[in-house]
């Protein structure tokens, strides 16, 4: 052990942004040929640390050693030269370039493209066979599924001869089958002697694939342990500094009458593509229905239609009363009046006005109501007071109503939105991605609030890309694929495998290696998409 130099060794890395210390005296050793997990809550400083390693930031203090040599990494070029490749959470791909063009960008041989392209074609073919990394080299990236785009990112790094690969939250956008495929790829890479650093906040992934795991909390490295010698509970405790519940505690649902009834709902997007195909679904009082599916299969469109932001045809009844799906009376305000509360998927763009203060944000959408004042004027003092009380009840930190929304962390922003929508006592609550980008402590709180609302007899429609979250919260689970509902299952009577297949559009279990079938189905979807875009 002592004669092998670590692939990466960081010694005493510190980095501050203004008054915020993102990394405090971090030291870590990553041994070659291993998968090293780095786990921590959002804002714990994982991404900052990796950005320093990839030359995006320079550290205020500390040293980087690569393969036993002290290395200075002032820019990405230096990182690439040192053999470090990075797969970012948000892919850095040129959407209208082909896979090949993306791969050679910045790593061309000579001034003309032709030799580089034909060389890359050969290399990609070889890599595809070696690591199960097949992607059609001539497809434009924008027509690839997210899983395939991620493969392109990995291929980019391998093409640059990286032997140390950093993956930042790689599974956030993948289906279970795609994630499984990714882990197989990582396994193969490890077998070939590559070193992999996996950044994630998902405990399951850490337990499943890593050899060693380091835990970060508030900019500090709190522990580094062998994965085999730890447990999810211990890691969670190390992450947040206290014990957390990984399961949502809830009593069995006692559903009553249907509050939200959807029949034959169809919706076309701006290009005339049918995004919702004949959706029928009901959500009853006192139950949570989870909408599972790979992002982009119509879940967002369904929320938009129900929230009043997109036109559709079909029938939707709330509390037995039909609501208009286009024209007059089809807007967010009318929907709120009809008893639909809406926590949008993208809270920063749709749920909040980021530069506005928290108290202003607690009334948007309801600012015409009687409690905000009478006539033309708004009673700002009353709204502020009410906002402060709401923030107290929803444990928003810091509890300062005059702070701008953008200055709160992701979890606290989400609590502000929830406070606004829940406190108006809607009959039906639409919730999109309730805990995306939210840390574990806040996730617990938000989940409790959702369950509390259910137990008050509300109908809740939940959209989430986190299958674990869907499982934890939902009483029934509807799976969407390509604008259709592939099936509705009771949460207690299904499993990841069945839902994974449904998410890929497969209703019959093919038996054998299900993941192969899912991959094939995803490939077909890619081709359909490509054909649709011409």
């Amino acid at each position: 052990m002592t004669d092998t130099a670590p692939a990466i060794e960081l010694k005493g890395i510190s980095k501050s942004f203004g008054p915020v210390q993102a990394n405090k005296d971090i030291s870590i050793r990553v041994m070659p040929g291993t998968i090293h997990g780095i786990i921590g809550e959002n804002g714990a400083g994982k991404s900052t640390l990796m950005s320093i390693l990839y030359g995006f930031y320079s550290a205020d203090a500390g040293e980087i050693w690569v393969k036993g040599e002290k290395t200075v990494i002032p820019d990405s070029q230096a990182a690439i030269r040192a053999g470090i490749g990075m797969v970012f959470q948000h892919f850095k791909l040129v959407q209208n370039f082909t896979v090949l063009e993306n791969v050679i960008l910045g790593a061309e041989d000579g001034g003309l493209l032709k030799p580089s392209l034909s060389k890359a074609r050969g290399v990609l073919k070889q890599l595809a066979e070696e690591y199960e990394l097949s992607v059609d080299p001539d497809t434009q990236v924008q027509h690839l599924s997210v899983g395939h785009q991620q493969r392109v990112e990995i291929l980019k790094a391998l093409y640059r001869q990286a032997d140390i690969l950093i993956l930042d939250e790689p599974t956030g956008v993948l289906t279970p089958a795609e994630a499984d495929h990714l882990f197989r790829i990582l396994d193969n890479l490890r077998a070939e002697g590559k070193t992999i650093i996996l950044i994630t906040h998902k405990l399951r992934e850490i337990m499943e694939i890593t050899d060693t795991v380091s835990v970060m909390r508030r900019g500090e490295m709190t522990a580094t342990v062998k994965t085999a010698e730890t447990s999810p509970e211990e890691l969670a405790e190390l992450m947040v500094g206290r014990k957390v519940l990984l399961r949502v505690d809830k009593a069995p649902a006692k559903p009553k009458e249907a509050l939200l009834e959807i029949e034959n709902l169809r919706h076309l997007d701006g290009q005339g593509v049918e995004k919702l195909r004949n959706i029928s679904l009901e959500v009853r009082a006192g139950e949570i229905v989870g909408l599972a599916g790979v992002a982009g299969n119509g879940q967002s469109e369904l929320l938009n239609v129900l929230g009043g932001y997109a036109d559709a045809t079909g029938t939707v009844r709330v509390n037995g009363r039909e609501i208009p799906l286009s024209g007059r009376g089809c807007d967010g305000m009318a929907r709120r009046a009809a008893g639909i509360g809406h926590v949008p998927e993208d809270r920063q763009r749709e749920g909040l006005i980021m530069p506005y203060s928290a108290w202003e944000n607690t009334v948007f959408g309801y600012h015409h109501g009687p409690e905000t004042g009478s006539g033309l004027l708004m009673d700002n003092a009353a709204i502020r007071k009410e906002a402060a009380a709401k923030m107290e009840r929803f444990d928003v930190r810091p509890p300062d109503p005059s702070l701008a929304a953008k200055n709160f962390s992701g979890g606290n922003q989400q609590k502000i939105v929830l406070a606004r929508e829940i406190e108006r006592n809607p009959d039906v609550l639409l919730i999109g991605q309730p805990t995306r980008g939210v840390d574990i402590g806040a996730i617990e709180f938000i989940h409790e609030q959702i369950v509390r609302l259910r137990d008050m007899g509300k109908a809740i429609l939940l959209v989430s890309v986190e299958l674990d979250e869907i499982f934890a919260l939902s009483d029934r689970i509807a799976v969407m694929f390509d604008g259709r509902i592939m099936g509705v299952r009771d949460a207690g009577e299904t499993d990841q495998r069945e839902l994974g297949l449904l998410m890929a559009g497969i209703t019959e279990d093919p038996g054998g290696d299900a993941y192969e079938a899912v991959d094939a189905a995803m490939d077909q979807k890619d081709h359909r998409e490509a054909a649709r875009h011409g």
């Binding site: 995006f56 990405s76 990075m86 061309e108 003309l112």
Partner: protein, 321 residues
């Protein structure tokens, strides 16, 4: 309209399309790199002035061309400084450059020549001569093809040929070279370029400099080829028309050629048919003169299908986590 008239109109189309084409390709380089440039007009104008002024003083059209190019490149670097280095608003920087050029040219012209903001008329070596291509005279007797070759293809100034050759050259650079790949990438997704270890700033400056170079040639052609000297505001909105052509062409070189020829044709028609008599109603000359500009508005209003600009256009690149 007989064949000869048609040839004359087309001949004048080619001449009028040349400055548009050069400016359009200039804008193409800049905008493909993600830097929006509405300062094409100003750069052409300043190049027109300095090329005419230097040509008038030295009697050399080549020195004039050099001066025009240098002045336009300097202005484009000002735009680069404002929008790339200091991450300012690219539209405002462009507008400022247009105003700067409009004022500066007239001011310096008055100071140097004292002729009310214009340069003296250029004569002899101060203007581009027309090049007669080989066999033009011999072939002119051949029916149909002869006059076509002699009048339409032969007999233009060097810069016209340069302008038209820039089209395949631009295409080749953009789609067949490493520089072109990176240039297109930086206009679509600068973060991809950055993480690939290539300098976003360097690429954008290169693109802006090429833009200045081409605007310089365009301006020089206006003052020392198309016309014989500089007059106030002589670009007459050509920079904006070139921008409209660029959108019409969807940022593609060959389409840019087509778009610029269309605008050139409209200008040529307006020049030749000043008052069209439609049995009782005479279409006034102003309407004809306005045609290219009306088309510009129509095109910019988006009546010609969806044009998808480079995705990162207009946005200064800021590194993010």
């Amino acid at each position: 309209m007989d064949y000869n008239t048609l040839l004359q109109v087309l001949d004048s189309t080619v001449r009028l399309a040349t400055p548009l084409l050069l400016a359009c390709l200039a804008g193409l380089f800049s905008e493909r790199s993600g830097v929006i440039d509405i300062g094409l007009e100003g750069k052409m104008l300043i190049a027109a002035f300095f090329s005419a002024a230097i040509a008038a003083m030295t009697g050399s059209v080549w020195l004039g061309l050099g001066a025009g190019i240098v002045s336009a490149v300097l202005l484009s670097l000002v735009h680069g400084l404002a929008s790339i280095t200091f991450r300012g608003n690219q539209l405002i920087s462009g507008v400022a450059i247009n105003f700067l050029a409009a004022g500066l040219t007239v001011l310096i012209a008055q100071d140097w020549f004292g002729q009310g903001g214009r340069t003296p008329s250029l004569i002899g070596g101060g203007r581009w001569g027309n090049i007669t291509l080989p066999f033009a005279d011999t072939l002119s007797g051949v029916p149909v093809i002869g006059p076509l070759y002699a009048q339409l293809i032969s007999g233009h100034s060097l810069l016209v040929y340069v302008g038209f050759l820039m089209v395949p050259l631009t295409w080749w650079v953009l789609f067949r070279t490493r520089f072109g790949l990176r240039l297109r990438a930086v206009g679509e997704s600068p973060e991809a370029v950055d993480t690939a270890g290539v300098s976003v700033v360097g690429l954008r400056y290169a693109a802006v400099a090429i833009c200045g170079l081409l605007c310089g040639i365009a301006g020089s052609y206006l003052a020392t080829g198309l016309q014989a000297g500089f007059v106030k505001d002589m670009t007459a909105g050509r920079g904006y028309i070139a921008l409209a052509a660029l959108i019409f062409a969807k940022w593609r070189p060959w389409h840019a050629l087509g778009a610029c020829l269309l605008f050139g044709l409209l200008q040529a028609v307006a020049l030749r048919y000043q008052n069209i008599d439609l049995g009782g109603i005479t279409i006034p000359v102003q309407v004809m003169d306005a045609l290219p500009y009306i088309l510009t508005v129509v095109i910019l209003a988006g009546f010609v299908g969806k044009a998808i600009p480079p995705r990162a256009g207009g946005e200064p690149y800021v590194k993010e986590r």
